[in-house]
C-alpha cells in the first residue's frame, strides 16, 4: 500500500507574524519557515503506518518555491521514502494545488492521500476536500484516529460537539487534525539519510496545470488592537450594557 503526503512550507508557528508595509501580504524575508504543523502530523501518521507494516511506501509532495525542498527533507528525515517537489514562484492557491496533486495522484497511484486539515498561514482548509472532489474519491477530514483494514478506512473525525466515526472506501483523501498523533523528533542518523533520499523536481507545466491565482487578495491588515476592558460595578450594569451598548441580548 502506498501513501502520498502533501506538505506545505509555512511561517514557523513560533514566529510573530508581521504584515508587509504595503498591505499586500505577510512579511516572509528572513522569517523562519517550517513544515505546516498539521502536515507534520500527516507525515507522522503515514510513517507509523509504514513502521506497522500496513504501508510499503510513503511519498512526500511539496508545491511552492524552491526552498520547499527543505520541507521535503524534513518529511524524509521523519521517515518518508522519497519526495516530489513542484516548484513555482506563483501564489499557489488551494484549487491549483489540488489540481496538481490530482495529476500526481494519477501518476503515482497511491491508495491514500494524506494532508493536514489546513495550513496555518492562510487557514484555507480546502485543498484536501477539493482534491477528493476532483478525484471523485472518498474523503475523511479532521482525523483524530485512522484504522485501515480490508481496503477500507475507519476514520474518527473531530466535528463540532464531538467525534464522528465513518467507514470509507479506499482510495481516499484524508486530512489530519491536531490530536491524531504527536510527531516525532527526527533522529540525527535519519536527518543524514534524508539528504541522500531522492527528490524529483517538476514544474506546474510538467503537470499540465496553470497555477495562476483565481482569487485576488485585496488587502492584508493587522487585526485591530484590542481595547482595554472596563470593570462593571454589578450584574445589573452588566446586563444593561450587554443589552444597550453591545446589543447582544
Amino acid at each position: 500500500m502506498k501513501v502520498l503526503v502533501a506538505v506545505k512550507r509555512v511561517v514557523d508557528y513560533n514566529v510573530k507574524i508581521r504584515v508587509k508595509t504595503d498591505n499586500t501580504g505577510v512579511e516572509l524575508a528572513n522569517v523562519k519557515m517550517s513544515m505546516n504543523p498539521f502536515d507534520e502530523i500527516a507525515v507522522e501518521e503515514a510513517v507509523r503506518l509504514k513502521e506497522a507494516g500496513t504501508v510499503t511506501e510513503v511519498v512526500a509532495v511539496s508545491l511552492g518555491v524552491a526552498q520547499c525542498q527543505e520541507t521535503l527533507r524534513t518529511a524524509l528525515a521523519m521517515g518518508a521514502d522519497r519526495g516530489i517537489l513542484v516548484t513555482s514562484d506563483a501564489d499557489l492557491q488551494p484549487l491549483a494545488v489540488a489540481k496538481m496533486l490530482k495529476v500526481l495522484v494519477e501518476r503515482e497511484a497511491p491508495d491514500l492521500v494524506f494532508l493536514g486539515k489546513q495550513a496555518i498561514d492562510d487557514d484555507a482548509n480546502q485543498t484536501g476536500q477539493m482534491l477528493a472532489g476532483l478525484l471523485g474519491w472518498a474523503q475523511g477530514t479532521f482525523l483524530s484516529k485512522l484504522t485501515l483494514a480490508d481496503g477500507r478506512a475507519q476514520v474518527t473525525r473531530e466535528i463540532d460537539g464531538g467525534l464522528e466515526t465513518l467507514d470509507i472506501a479506499l482510495p481516499a483523501v484524508v486530512t489530519a487534525d491536531l490530536r491524531l498523533n504527536t510527531p516525532r523528533y527526527a533522529s540525527l542518523p535519519n536527518i543524514m539519510k534524508a539528504k541522500k533520499k531522492p527528490i524529483e523536481t517538476l514544474t506546474p507545466a510538467d503537470l499540465g496545470v496553470d497555477p495562476t491565482p483565481r482569487l485576488t487578495v485585496l488587502k492584508v491588515e493587522e487585526p485591530p488592537v484590542r481595547k482595554a476592558g472596563v470593570r462593571v460595578p454589578d450584574v445589573a450594569t452588566l446586563i444593561e450594557k450587554l443589552r444597550n451598548e453591545a446589543k447582544v441580548i
Partner: protein, 594 residues
C-alpha cells in the same frame, strides 16, 4: 518560567557569514556537511532542546537527585528525556563514524552544545562527560578496549565519567592516592575514593564507564606517577552486555549550589577490576586529551546560560511596567512604561547581548580551528590550527564562564525581586553558571595555563596564531573610515595586549610569581581583545549587509558592536594598568596578617 528559543538566526550568521561554515564540506571527511544538512541538524536540535530538555530544567532544579541505598534517582522526566536524546542519535554527534558516531563537525556540535546548556545544563552533564571519556578512550585505548566500550558510549546506552578528584587532591593531581594493582590476566584491581564525580551513578543508562586516575605500585611520586584506567560499573559478559557488578559504588551525592539535577557522586573503588588506558605513568597526558575537550565545552556552558538569562531578561524588560521613560512617556495607555525604556536596564541587556553574541563567535572561531586541526589536508595548516586551539582553550574556558556568570547575574538584576525568587528560573541560571568557573580547572588555573604553558610555548609560536591575524586585520582595515569606530578601539586594546604580553613574559622569566600574580588579569585582557577583534569583524559584515536587512538583524549587530567598543572593551585599559603594576602588592601582606 523563562522560555527558551534557540537563537538559530544568530547561530547561522556566526557559522556561515562570520566563520565560513559553508566551506566545511571542502574538508576531507566532512564532504556531507553542506548547509542543507547542517541547517536541519540545528533545527532538530533546537526543537529537542526547546520541547524536551528546557521544560525539565526548573522542575529538575527543584527536585534534585535522590540517593538511597547506593542508588541515584535523577529527577522525574530525566530518564525519558535521556532516552529520547539517545534514540535521536545526539550522544553520537561528533563521534567517529567507525564506532557508530555521526562525525558532525565541531563547529556544528558546538552550537548544539550551546543549545543543550541553555535548555538544561544539568541534563547536558551526562552526555558531556560521556564525550570526554570517549575522547580519551578513542585516543589512548587499546583496540580491544575501544571495541568493547566505544560503541555503547557513542550510542549512549552506556555513559562515561572522569574520576580525577580525591578528598586530598583537587587541582594538584600529583596527590592522587587511589591504587591500581596489576593482575596476572593483564587487568588491574583499583582501590580508593574519588569525589565530585559528575554522573558517577544514575538511572539513565544500563552501564557507566569510569575513567580513573590511579597509581601503580612502582609509580614515581607526583604527576609523573599517575596512570589512567577504565573501570566499568558492570563488567561486560562474553556478549559484551553488562554482566557482574564491579567493585565500584556510589557512597553519597553532594548537595550543591547549582546543577542540582546532575548527580555529583562520591565513588568508592574496592578492588574494582579495571584496564590501563595509555601507557603506565602517563595518565596525565591521556587525561588532558579529555580535559581539553571538556574545557572548551565548559566555556560553552557559560555562553549557553548567558543566552538563556538574556532571553528571560529581555522578555521581562519588555512586559514589566515600572516608572516612566525619562525622555517622556512612551506608553500613555498603560500605567507605566516597560522597564526596557530605562537606560540602566538597557545597559544590562546590552552587556548580556554583547556577551552572548561575542562569546558565540569566539566559541565558533575556536571550533573552526578544531575542525581544521583534524581535517585539513595540509599538515602545516593542521598544526597551525592545533596551536590556535591550544592557545585559546584556557581563554574560552575562563573568559566565557566568567562572563557567563556576570550575564546570568544581570538577568536576575533586570528582574529585580522577581529574579531573586525561584519562580521565574533566573536565579537558577546564576547558581548553575557558578560551577563552570570552577570545574575542569578553576579559572585561576586556566590563567596559569595561558601564561605559564601557552605564551612561551615553542618560542611564542602559539601566540602568533592569534597575534598575526588580529594584527593583519588592523593593518588592512585601519584606514577605513566606516570601520574606524570599531578598528580604532580594537587597535588600542591590541597594543595594550602586546605590551602586557611582553611585560608578563619578561617578569615571568625573572620571577614566575610575578607572572602568576597577574595571570587572571592577563587572560581577561586577552579575551576582551579577542572579542574586540570579533566584534570589529561582525561590524564589518553588518556594514556589508546594510542594504539587505529586512529584519534589522545587521543593524542590531552594528549597534551591539558599538556598545561593545564603547562600554566593554575599555576595561582593557584598567586591566593593562593592573598588569603593569605587577605582583608586588599581592606578595606584600604577611600571611599571618590575613
Amino acid at each position: 518560567m523563562a522560555s527558551y528559543r534557540a537563537p538559530l538566526r544568530d547561530m547561522r550568521y556566526v557559522l556561515y557569514t562570520l566563520m565560513g561554515g559553508e566551506e566545511l564540506s571542502s574538508l576531507p571527511g566532512y564532504e556531507e556537511f553542506t548547509p542543507d544538512l547542517i541547517d536541519p541538524v540545528l533545527e532538530e536540535a533546537a526543537k529537542l532542546c526547546e520541547g524536551v530538555l528546557h521544560p525539565l530544567n526548573r522542575p529538575g532544579d527543584e527536585a534534585g537527585c535522590v540517593f538511597e541505598n547506593g542508588v541515584v534517582r535523577t529527577p522525574s522526566g530525566f530518564p525519558e528525556a535521556y532516552a529520547t536524546f539517545r534514540e535521536g542519535g545526539w550522544t553520537a554527534l561528533s563521534c567517529d563514524p567507525a564506532y557508530g558516531g555521526q562525525g558532525v563537525p565541531h563547529m556544528v556540535a558546538t552550537l548544539v552544545e550551546e543549545m543543550i546548556c541553555s535548555a538544561n545544563l544539568s541534563f547536558g552533564m551526562v552526555p558531556g562527560l560521556s564525550y570526554g571519556a570517549y575522547v580519551a578512550l578513542h585516543e589512548f585505548g587499546t583496540e580491544d578496549l575501544k571495541a568493547a566500550y566505544l560503541p555503547a558510549l557513542v550510542d549512549g546506552t552506556w555513559t562515561g565519567t572522569m574520576c580525577l578528584t580525591e578528598p586530598q587532591c583537587g587541582t594538584d593531581l600529583g596527590l592522587v592516592r587511589t591504587r591500581a594493582v596489576p593482575q596476572e590476566d593483564g587487568s588491574y584491581r583499583l582501590t580508593g575514593t574519588k569525589i565530585f564525580i559528575s554522573a558517577g551513578e544514575h538511572d539513565l543508562a544500563e552501564n557507566i564507564v569510569h575513567l580513573v586516575l590511579a597509581r601503580l605500585p612502582d609509580a614515581p611520586k607526583g604527576v609523573k606517577g599517575i596512570s589512567l584506567f577504565l573501570v566499568p560499573k558492570f563488567l561486560p559478559d562474553a556478549q559484551g552486555r553488562p554482566g557482574p557488578r564491579n567493585g565500584v559504588s556510589c557512597g553519597a551525592i553532594e548537595h550543591k549550589m547549582g546543577i542540582k539535577a546532575s548527580p555529583t557522586c562520591v565513588m568508592n573503588f574496592d578492588d574494582a577490576t579495571g584496564w590501563l588506558v595509555g601507557e603506565p605513568h602517563k595518565g596525565l597526558r591521556a587525561m588532558f586529551s579529555m580535559m581539553n575537550a571538556e574545557r572548551l565545552s565548559v566555556g560553552v556552558q557559560g555562553l549557553g546560560l548567558a543566552e538563556a538569562a538574556y532571553q528571560g531578561a529581555v522578555a521581562y524588560a519588555r512586559e514589566r511596567g515600572q516608572g516612566r521613560s525619562l525622555a517622556g512617556t512612551k506608553n500613555p495607555d498603560k500605567a507605566a512604561d516597560a522597564i526596557i525604556v530605562h537606560p540602566d536596564v538597557r545597559r544590562m541587556l546590552l552587556i548580556q547581548r554583547a556577551t552572548v553574541e561575542g562569546c558565540r563567535a569566539l566559541a565558533l572561531w575556536t571550533a573552526r580551528h578544531l575542525d581544521l586541526s583534524t581535517h585539513h589536508p595540509d599538515p602545516v595548516a593542521r598544526e597551525e590550527s592545533a596551536d590556535f586551539v591550544a592557545l585559546m582553550t584556557p581563554v574560552v574556558k575562563a573568559l566565557m564562564t566568567d562572563m557567563g556568570f556576570t550575564s546570568t547575574n544581570l538577568g536576575v538584576q533586570v528582574f529585580g525581586g522577581h529574579g531573586y525568587i525561584r519562580e521565574h528560573g533566573m536565579e537558577q541560571y546564576v547558581r548553575d553558571a557558578r560551577i563552570a568557573q570552577i570545574y575542569e580547572g578553576t579559572n585561576g588555573i586556566q590563567a596559569l595555563d595561558l601564561v605559564g604553558r601557552k605564551l612561551g610555548a615553542h618560542a611564542g609560536r602559539y601566540l602568533r596564531r592569534f597575534f598575526h591575524p588580529v594584527g593583519a586585520y588592523i593593518e588592512a582595515h585601519g584606514e577605513e573610515e566606516r570601520l574606524a569606530p570599531f578598528v580604532t578601539p580594537l587597535a588600542k586594546a591590541f597594543v595594550r595586549l602586546q605590551q602586557a604580553t611582553a611585560q608578563v613574559a619578561r617578569a615571568g622569566l625573572r620571577d614566575p610569581e610575578e607572572a602568576a600574580a597577574v595571570a587572571s588579569d592577563y587572560l581577561r585582557l586577552f579575551g576582551l581583545t579577542a572579542l574586540g577583534f570579533l566584534w570589529a569583524r561582525m561590524a564589518e559584515t553588518a556594514l556589508e549587509h546594510q542594504g539587505d536587512d529586512a529584519d534589522g538583524f545587521h543593524a542590531a549587530k552594528l549597534a551591539t558592536a558599538r556598545f561593545y567598543m564603547d562600554k566593554m572593551l575599555p576595561e582593557t585599559g584598567a586591566l593593562f594598568s593592573v598588569i603593569m603594576a605587577g605582583g608586588a602588592s599581592i606578595g606584600a601582606l604577611d600571611e599571618a596578617a590575613f
